[in-house]
Symmetry: C2
Subunit: 177 residues, 2 copies
Amino acid sequence: MSARVLTPTSYLVLGLVHTLQPCTSYDMKQLVNVSIGMFWPFPHSQLYAEPVRLVAEGHLTEIQEEGGRRRRLYRLTASGEEALRGWLHATGTPVGEVRDEGLLKLFFAKSGDRDALIALAADRVDAHGQRLALLSSLREEFGALGSPNQMATIELGLRWETTAVEFWSDIAEHPPV
Amino acid sequence: MSARVLTPTSYLVLGLVHTLQPCTSYDMKQLVNVSIGMFWPFPHSQLYAEPVRLVAEGHLTEIQEEGGRRRRLYRLTASGEEALRGWLHATGTPVGEVRDEGLLKLFFAKSGDRDALIALAADRVDAHGQRLALLSSLREEFGALGSPNQMATIELGLRWETTAVEFWSDIAEHPPV
DNA sequence: GAAGGCATGTAATGAGTTACATGATTAT
DNA sequence: ATAATCATGTAACTCATTACATGCCTTC
């Protein structure tokens, strides 16, 4: 038997289907791209591959349209709902990972190369500033739609980007070394 | 020919070897675990696998000890130094990814289930609070060692965790919905 | 009815993850 | 000397990533 351990991608898909059902992989992609995918990118190929596994495991049902694009419409099964609910209620969720190349570069920035460090900081302020603007406009544009919790997700992103901009500005102004 | 595109893991190893050389994979692991690995975990198996590739590509040299543990000692080649330098100076570094299951859970928290949301927020405050404490003690313990830039890395982590604690505390106190 | 982009997928590859395994050192 | 833990790796497997491919649908 040896059931697979569900991955974050699994729960993403379960949650998306719960929200959107009945829905296609493309529907999921649309929602992801303007929300959680801003912070945690899930390539669309995963949103096609993962449901196949979840159907095999009995967490989703799939109905393929007869004509036209023959799209696959997914729905949650009772088992899928239970898996989602169990995950949502579980405590002890690990702290998230921050995979930031800028952080890596900072870590290895040569001590003493002040100019390189300042250039790096300027680059980061720029990048995080752009992201901040993007999130703000997202909030304006979709503020009405989207559940309060989904908006809260964007809010955390805004705070994170704000923190990053402040941090890198500090570095630019008072470079260590 | 078709040279592989170096990954973040590649640059991590190049940077670590630059800092520590001559060094073993275990040396790299030690440093990673108390620094960058706090935010961006790199399993030790990668720190053994990646240098093998980098040696094959001419970015590192490997010398294996004769006796004892027959450890492999790595050093940067000129090519490796250049790759590292090029990466450090490149602009347009993408914004980092935040892979946070707590964020996913928030996104899918059922609208209306106030209790579940509060429980989630409490769990997150706890987890991020612990991480915050860990980073603080790290700063105390290794504050003297470590380059200023490496300490700055920890500093960004502290700010990020502080932001997270504030955010989730707000959620707990004023849950949306 | 032609063009372009939207929508829906598949394939190949390499990397990441987890688990396992074992030899060397250190402590008692 | 023995146990315990540190140190060093390997193996199997899955997943993520990138690129490609193509059909549908709209619009003009």
